[in-house]
Each structure stands twice: as structure tokens, then as C-alpha cells.
């Protein structure tokens, strides 16, 4: 501790010592920055996860880049990213506005809307696996043939099922963000619009939406970048199948590394994932303009 003379020293501009940041920095360097460098290094090696690591030059990269499964994983990732954004963004915006309303029944509904936030991805996946079973789930329960499908076994349907389950799990989180955003809009704006005779739709279009601009940017960024982290849900729900139909990039990386024991190729896939994530984050930040929230990117 710095010893100070009792005489008040007017200005001590130095501020706190940089050492205070050292523990956080050391943790972050050791378990985030070093692995980040490590994943690039390992992509130029061959390693089965147990034995020796051998430098192999570009062989992992040529394997990964010529493998049609990689291209397929990129397409699946893009599809899931696109569809889950198109589904989640409007639904969570509307629900955010809905739950921000003062009515009692809406507050009560909101308490239930947020329940999925309590479940882990593994729990959500297991619940839906049982619910979507064509023999003992939703379809026979409601006696509706349309609900009695082999939801997770039909490669034409499964992608949309995955998008639906993702929405079920993550819409509540974004609803919460929008609810917070709507509550910060000054009530006087609506009062003025009311006096002008603006109807509900006009108010939504001309006040709510423009006022939510930064919330929309934050939520959209989290949705898009976050979709690169949909690993556990899909891993438990479909395992990437049937075939390769839901094998998105993070899952492809895991299976290549820990099931096919090709850590070199998996590291190359990890590098691709990092480049895509970083590129998307920077792009969205640019699109969103100068906004301090846009930098709050977490694969939430």
C-alpha cells in the first residue's frame, strides 16, 4: 500500500496502479489468448488427442477445405443463423413491447414467458426430444396427424425443428432485452402522439421502433453472433443428424476433434469459426454505427 503523508496532496494524477488489472489479465492471457494462438498453431499440426503433436504444414487445411462436409456445415450454420434471426427478432420485439405494457395479465404472462431461461440447453434438448417423439409425444397427445411426424428423423424438417427449439430457448432472453428497452421510452412521447390522434399502429411504427434502434442493434448482434454458439442444444437434440443435416460448424469442429480424433482439422475449423465470428461482429458494429452496446457481444 502506498504510504501517504497526512498533508493533503492536491492532485495525484497517476491513478491506481496497473497491477490491479494484472490478475484478470493473467487469467485471460492464459486461458483465452494462449488458446487463441494455440488453435492457429494446432491447425498446422496433426494430433489425435493423445499422442505426439507433429507439424504437418497445410495438410489439415487442405483436408478441411476440400471436405464437402465443411461446406455443408457452413451452409447449415448460415441457414440456422438466418432462419433463427428471422423468427426470433420480430417475435421477441413484439413480446417485449407486449410485456412492457402495464396490464396485470401481461405481467403475469411475462413471469411464465421467462421460464425457459431457467433451463440448460441440455435440458431443453432432452425435453423436446421426448415431446417430439412421434409415438409418445405431442402428436398422439393431441391426436393430430399433422403433429405426428418424425420431426427429428426427417432431414427436410429437422432444420426447422432446430430453429423452433432455438427460438423457444432464446426468445425469452431477447424479450427481456426489448422489454427493458421499451420501458425506457419516455411516456410523454406516447401522450403527445395520443393527442395527435395517432393510433396504436402509428405509435408503434413512429415512436416505439425508432426509439428501440439501439436495442434492436444489440439484440440482433447477440442473436447473429450467438448463433455461432448453438452447440450444446443441437449436440443433444440431433447430434448433427440425420446424416449431416444439422451439423453446423461448432458441432462439426467438436465431432472432428473429439470423435474422429483429428485435432489438426478441428483446429482449422476453430480458426474458421473465429474468423467468421470476428468478421460478423465487426460488420454488425459498423452497420450499427457508433453505439457502445454493440460492442457487448457475448455468445449468450
Amino acid at each position: 500500500m502506498t504510504s501517504l503523508s497526512s498533508a493533503p496532496r492536491r492532485v495525484r494524477d497517476a491513478g491506481p496502479s496497473g497491477w490491479l488489472a494484472a490478475p484478470a489479465l493473467i487469467f485471460f492471457l492464459a486461458f483465452a489468448v494462449v488458446p487463441l494462438i494455440g488453435v492457429v498453431f494446432l491447425s498446422f499440426t496433426s494430433w489425435n488427442g493423445l499422442g505426439e503433436i507433429k507439424l504437418e504444414g497445410l495438410s489439415s487445411w487442405t483436408t478441411v477445405l476440400t471436405d464437402p462436409v465443411t461446406g455443408n456445415a457452413l451452409v447449415v450454420t448460415a441457414k440456422i443463423m438466418f432462419f433463427s434471426f428471422v423468427v426470433q427478432a420480430p417475435v421477441s420485439l413484439l413480446l417485449g413491447v407486449f410485456t412492457a405494457g402495464g396490464q396485470k395479465y401481461r405481467a403475469a404472462l411475462a413471469v411464465l414467458y421467462f421460464l425457459p431461461l431457467l433451463l440448460s440447453s441440455a435440458a431443453v434438448a432432452i425435453a423436446f426430444k421426448a415431446l417430439l417423439d412421434p409415438n409418445f409425444g405431442l402428436g398422439p397427445g393431441f391426436k393430430l396427424p399433422i403433429l405426428t411426424q418424425d420431426w427429428l428423423g426427417n432431414s427436410d424438417l429437422v432444420l426447422f425443428v432446430v430453429v423452433f427449439v432455438i427460438a423457444w430457448q432464446f426468445v425469452p432472453f431477447h424479450t427481456l432485452i426489448y422489454q427493458g428497452g421499451v420501458r425506457q421510452i419516455p411516456a410523454s412521447l406516447y401522450e403527445a402522439a395520443e393527442i395527435d390522434g395517432a393510433g396504436r399502429f402509428r405509435q408503434f411504427w413512429n415512436i416505439t421502433l425508432p426509439q428501440l434502434k439501439y436495442t434492436i442493434i444489440t439484440s440482433s448482434t447477440l442473436m447473429v453472433v450467438g448463433s455461432l454458439a448453438y452447440f450444446d442444444l443441437i449436440f443433444v437434440l440431433t447430434g448433427g443428424g440425420p446424416g449431416y443435416s444439422t451439423r453446423l460448424l461448432p458441432l462439426h469442429m467438436y465431432l472432428t476433434g473429439f470423435k474422429a480424433n483429428d485435432m489438426g482439422a478441428a483446429s482449422a475449423l476453430g480458426v474458421i469459426l473465429i474468423v467468421i465470428g470476428l468478421g460478423l461482429a465487426l460488420l454488425l458494429q459498423r452497420l450499427g454505427g457508433k453505439n457502445r452496446n454493440a460492442s457487448q457481444l457475448e455468445g449468450a
Binding site: 502506498t2 501517504l4 493533503p8 491513478g15 491506481p16 496502479s17 496497473g18 497491477w19 488489472a21 490478475p23 484478470a24 489479465l25 487469467f27 485471460f28 492464459a30 486461458f31 483465452a32 494462449v34 488458446p35 494446432l42 503433436i53 413480446l95 407486449f98 405494457g101 401481461r106 404472462l109 411464465l112 425457459p116 431461461l117 440448460s120 440447453s121 435440458a123 423436446f128 415431446l131 417423439d133 405431442l138 397427445g141 432485452i177 427493458g180 401522450e191 403527445a192 393527442i195 395527435d196 444489440t218 453472433v225 455461432l228 452447440f231 450444446d232 443433444v236 469442429m253 467438436y254 483446429s267 476453430g270 480458426v271 473465429i274 465470428g277 465487426l282 460492442s295 457487448q296 449468450a300
Partner: protein, 301 residues
């Protein structure tokens, strides 16, 4: 207030929009008209959210024969607690304890080091601190889980594979960027004069950090703590790649392994889902507001 003459428009509203005042196109009950479309949508979404949860809960009380024969959407004719007993007898308490250890073991150190770093970044001026802050910001934009392979390598090399510490160390590192960002956002709101007057009283930075900055940012610290705790509690990827034995299994991974152990005993699998969710449900019931504000961790600040 309490004026006897009923004005068509309260005065405050007139001043809010002077242009509208002379026209006086006021439709009193305009706002009260119920939003039918919104209401229908709201109840529809409730059905979407509730049906899976309802299904999980009712099925977890069915015996296996009942599961195969009864209507899947109706409660069990003879509810049974056997499935819960089976899950509890299968090491559930051990997995729960492991989850608690990993969550606390991650969140408390992560909060401490992030708080100190945030304080230094906000109050300090050195180039080193600026660089540190930028590094953490970059960490937010990178999907860090893409680094699981080198993390696996490091953990095995350090002979930490299949230990709880293996889960804690990288989790602390991954929690730091978002924690520092949010804590420093809040710390900037603490008035500078308070620090200056404490400085005049001869306080060291160390003392100011704990006696001024910490009390002033306590809500943010709690929020960040909850946010990180939920992520660690529900985390699946690190346990999957860094542990394997039942002795180090945490709850989310245990759900996945129960699936293998109980195979066709779906009611028991779903009972494990209910049991694993119960702790958070209890917290949700007693402290919903804190939990929800922790979840968005200042994203809508």
C-alpha cells in the same frame, strides 16, 4: 389535482405538445381500448412456452407402463415419485454439489479480478491499462469456445483433466471480458468528486476501491455475478470435453449421461430434467427481479 372542473385534457399534456392543443382532438378512452391482436398473440405464445414444460412435468410422474399406454398430454392416472427416487439414487446430489462448487469457484474469483481490473481501467490512465481494456473488448467479439482444442491440450498437459479445477480455470477467463465491460460501465457513473475527496483524506487506491467503488457499484456486481453464475451453472461444453468420470460430473452433463443410463425410461430422464431445473426455479420464485436483471446483465442499460 382534485380539481372540480373536468378538463378535457390535463394541462400537462397540452404543454407536452403545444401544436395539438388548439385542435383538441382528444379521444379520452383511446388508450384503454383493449389490444385484441396483442392479447391473442400473447396467449398463443404462452401455449408454446407452457406445453413442453407441462409435458415434462406430467411425464416425470408417470411410471413406465403408464408412459407407454396413457395419453401423453394427460397427467398420470396414478402419479408416482419412483422416477425422482431413481434419479436421486443415481448420484444426483453429487452432481448438484459439483455444479455448486464449479459455479461458486468460477464466479467469486471472476468477480474479484474483474472488479479490480474495472477499477484500474476506469480510474487509471496508463497506456498499459488502455491496452488491457481493448484486449478484453476484443475478447467479447471472438467466439471463445472455438478454442476448446488448445484448452483441452493445456488441461491434459497440466494433469488437470477430469478435475473440477479444469472447469473453473477457463470459465473464469471466459467470464472476464463481459464482467469488466459491465462493471467499468457502471463505475464510470460514480462521481469523480467522491474519489477526490477520499484522496484528500489520504485514502489509498486499494482502500478507495473497497470502501467507495464497491458499495457504489454493488447492484452491478450482483448483476454480473448472477449473469456469470447462470452461464456456468448451465454450461455444457467444458464439462463435456474436460471431464469424464461421475466424480466430476456437473448437472447439465449428468442429464446427458442419464439419457444413456436410463435409455428407454423417458419418465426418469424427464424427472432428472425437473430436478436439475428446480434450484433455479426456487431462485426465480424468491428473487425473480434480481435474476432477470442479472440475465440481461446491463445489455438493455
Amino acid at each position: 389535482m382534485a380539481s372540480t372542473t373536468q378538463l378535457p385534457v390535463p394541462p400537462s399534456r397540452v404543454t407536452a405538445d403545444p401544436a395539438a392543443a388548439p385542435v383538441a382532438r382528444t379521444k379520452g378512452p383511446g388508450r384503454q381500448r383493449p389490444n385484441l391482436l396483442g392479447g391473442v398473440g400473447g396467449w398463443l405464445w404462452l401455449a408454446i412456452i407452457i406445453i413442453p414444460i407441462y409435458y415434462v412435468v406430467i411425464t416425470s410422474f408417470k411410471n413406465q407402463a403408464g408412459f407407454f399406454t396413457s395419453n401423453p398430454m394427460l397427467p398420470a392416472p396414478e402419479p408416482t415419485l419412483d422416477n425422482y427416487k431413481l434419479v436421486l439414487d443415481n448420484n444426483f446430489v453429487k452432481y448438484f454439489t459439483n455444479s455448486v462448487i464449479v459455479t461458486l469457484g468460477t464466479v467469486l474469483p471472476a468477480l474479484a479480478v474483474s472488479f479490480m481490473a474495472a477499477y484500474a481501467i476506469v480510474r487509471g490512465k496508463s497506456r498499459f491499462l488502455n491496452w488491457t481494456n481493448n484486449l478484453f473488448l476484443l475478447g467479447l467479439a471472438i467466439p471463445l469456445h472455438a478454442t476448446i482444442i488448445p484448452i483441452y491440450w493445456m488441461i491434459t498437459r497440466a494433469h488437470l483433466y477430469d478435475t473440477l479445477l479444469a472447469l473453473i480455470l477457463p470459465s473464469v477467463a471466459f467470464a472476464i471480458p463481459v464482467s469488466v465491460l459491465i462493471l467499468s460501465n457502471f463505475m464510470r457513473d460514480v462521481p469523480n468528486e467522491l474519489f477526490e475527496s477520499m484522496r484528500l483524506d489520504g485514502c489509498s487506491d486499494w482502500a478507495m476501491m473497497w470502501r467507495l467503488a464497491l458499495p457504489m457499484t454493488k447492484p452491478a456486481v450482483i448483476t454480473v455475478g448472477i449473469y456469470n453464475a447462470l452461464h456456468v451453472w448451465n454450461g455444457f461444453l467444458f464439462p463435456l470435453i474436460l471431464t469424464q468420470s461421475p466424480a466430476t460430473r456437473v448437472l447439465p452433463l449428468s442429464l446427458w449421461t442419464f439419457q444413456g443410463e436410463f435409455s428407454v425410461n423417458i419418465p426418469a430422464i424427464l424427472a432428472s430434467v425437473v430436478l436439475a431445473t428446480l434450484p433455479l426455479l426456487v431462485i426465480y420464485v424468491v428473487a425473480r427481479r434480481q435474476l432477470l436483471s442479472g440475465l440481461t446483465a446491463g445489455f438493455s442499460k
